[in-house]
């Protein structure tokens, strides 16, 4: 594992450290969703190294930014980032999913510093974030709201209900980032329920929409830096990114890495990053 540089200011360094944590913790806990976490980790790393105005020191500031991970099954990604950035002890990661531990297999906010909303049932994060953005806009509070969603999650009706509401009220403080890894629970998104033309849908709902490389830190940071009205960033990603045998495989939505898998995965991270 790379040496800790907490708190990280460089998204690439944070993402690499987090990838190690994600693979370790899902292996030790025999937990699912390692590939979902690896696909979204670059987005989260960019958000938590400056693109979102959020840090351990400004959590009590009502004008800070808010990040909601709506795809709650990627909990290991958010927990890794928060621990590496000093929101809570890294010891908690080692107890992931164990009895009476603070961190469970889906994102929980209770007693976990830095987590805004407990998620796990898809389609909840966007309406909730919409409510925070609406309140801030109506009552003059600053700070943006970033909701990180999965692409499969966009099957949920609340996504499009929320898209209409945000557009109608011109919520220029709300950003959706869709982790467009193109795989959902049972198979590929386009074989399950067609999302394409995906960007056109968001545009038609009145959102400023950009499709970007979801693993390119500078491009993500640039896209996150400005918005006109509600903004949807479609982060084009690879599920399982960084570990070739986990990439683009439905199997790794569920499979937990064995200790051999962990060794192989760490070797690949050394080669690839």
């Amino acid at each position: 594992m790379p040496q800790s540089k907490a708190p990280y200011s460089d998204a690439a360094e944070l993402a690499l450290a987090a990838r190690h944590e994600i693979i370790s913790m899902t292996s030790v806990a025999k937990a699912s969703h390692v590939a979902s976490a690896l696909s979204v980790i670059d987005v989260l790393s960019v958000l938590y190294t400056g693109s979102a105005n959020i840090s351990v020191s400004n959590m009590d500031n009502p004008d800070r930014d808010i990040v909601i991970l709506s795809k709650g099954h990627s909990a290991s990604a958010l927990y890794s980032v928060l621990a590496l950035q000093g929101f809570f002890s890294k010891d908690w990661l080692a107890q992931y999913c164990s009895n009476d531990a603070p961190l469970g297999g889906h994102v929980t906010s209770k007693g976990v510093p830095g987590v805004e909303l407990s998620t796990g049932s898809l389609g909840h994060g966007l309406p909730y974030g919409l409510g925070i953005a609406m309140s801030r806009k109506k009552h003059g509070a600053k700070g943006r709201v970033f909701v990180v969603m999965s692409d499969g999650e966009c099957d949920e009706g609340t996504t499009w209900e929320s898209a209409m509401i945000a557009n109608h009220h011109n919520l220029d403080n709300l950003v959706v980032i869709v982790d467009r890894n193109k795989i959902q629970s049972l198979t590929f998104t386009e074989d399950t329920l067609k999302l394409e033309p995906f960007a056109d849908k968001w545009t038609a709902f009145g959102w400023q929409t950009e499709t970007v490389d979801g693993h390119n830190y500078s491009i993500l940071a640039k896209s996150l830096a400005s918005q006109k009205g509600p903004k949807c960033i479609i982060a084009d990603t690879t599920k399982g990114k960084g570990v070739d045998f986990m990439e683009n495989s439905v199997l790794w939505h569920y499979k937990s890495p064995s200790s051999d898998d962990v060794t192989k995965a760490f070797d690949q991270l050394s080669e690839n990053y």
């Binding site: 407990s118 049932s121 309406p127 909730y128 919409l130 409510g131 925070i132 109506k138 609340t158 209900e161």
Partner: protein, 307 residues
């Protein structure tokens, strides 16, 4: 009840800018004054109960006191998981307000009958379920809810419910409001169906039987001391405009069981034998077994059995 609620909420909201009213595109002619006078504290979300409830929870997380208003099943069953996860689990102080309790929208059909809402919302953790009996209780309970910052379900009737309290009831969490005192038993009820309970009391009195009649607005916080005394006095009949399954009757039976009380309890609630039956509120109460005859019959039978 709905007019009293909105009028009282408007009075509170004038004083407290943190009070927010959200509607799911319902309340024609009822919410206009609020919307016009306090547009910064009002939102018509549109016809989208699930997003609306998540939105309300997020809004409440910013320190606002959010009331969500709609008809019967729409702000309750349609968005149940949003209430469960985003309101109750996160302990956000959203107040879900439904109008049209029971058969208040009788002729509009079963989609508009609210008959399972108490059961479902009462099952949720952190949720206070509150059912006013008349406009006086509605007024006092609205003020109570504003000051009691926790997830709440407020189940209102519709319009023109008669006032059944002679004076404004004193509201305290869990308190049962006795309307008349008798010596041989008790009729407990929740909601505007109290008029039926009071008519049954008269009928029993004509047969020489004296019973207390009391409103139980706090369905999820039953006053066990009151129950203990009531059960010592004689049979208790629980009357509600709701399914037999999981409503006030069930709440009372659970409280009796938990406190290991002894006594006779009868339930008068909706049969739901013909879901598609059309008719006004009184007609549907009658055909579904929520009527004076049923209350009197059940009370006398329990009284006979106790002898």
């Amino acid at each position: 009840m709905r007019d009293t609620f909105v009028k009282t909420l408007l009075e509170e909201a004038r004083r407290d800018p943190n009070i927010i009213l959200i509607t799911g595109d319902l309340g024609y002619g009822v919410l206009d004054e609020f919307a016009k006078e306090l547009p910064g504290q009002f939102l018509n979300s549109g016809v989208n109960e699930q997003a609306m409830m998540g939105l309300a929870a997020g809004y409440a997380s910013t320190g606002k006191r959010v009331f969500v208003y709609s008809i019967g099943n729409f702000p309750t069953l349609r968005c149940l998981e949003q209430i469960r996860n985003d309101v109750c689990l996160m302990n956000n102080p959203v107040v879900v307000v439904s109008v049209g309790a029971g058969y208040a929208y009788g002729s509009q059909g079963y989609t508009h009958h609210a008959l399972e809402d108490i059961a479902v919302l009462r099952a949720l953790p952190n949720m206070e379920v509150i059912v006013p009996a008349d406009p006086l209780e509605t007024l006092e309970l609205t003020r109570f809810i504003v000051s009691n910052k926790k997830p709440t379900y407020f189940r209102l009737g519709k319009s023109n419910e008669p006032i059944i309290h002679t004076t404004a009831p004193k509201i305290a969490l869990g308190a049962i409001n006795e309307i008349s005192e008798g010596s041989q038993g008790t009729l407990l009820f929740a909601g505007s169906v109290g008029t039926v309970a009071l008519a049954a009391e008269k009928e029993l009195a004509s047969k020489g039987v004296s019973v207390s009649v009391a409103s139980v607005p706090f369905v999820s916080s039953i006053d066990v001391q009151y129950l203990t005394k009531a059960l010592k006095k004689g049979p208790v009949i629980v009357i509600e405009e709701h399914s037999y399954r999981g409503g006030l009757g069930s709440a009372v039976l659970e409280a009796v069981n938990a406190a290991e009380l002894q006594g006779s309890i009868g339930l008068v609630a909706a049969d739901q034998n013909n879901l598609s039956q059309i008719g006004d509120q009184n007609f549907l109460r009658n055909t579904n077994g929520i009527n004076i005859e049923m209350i009197v019959k059940k009370f006398i039978a329990l009284q006979e059995a106790q002898k």
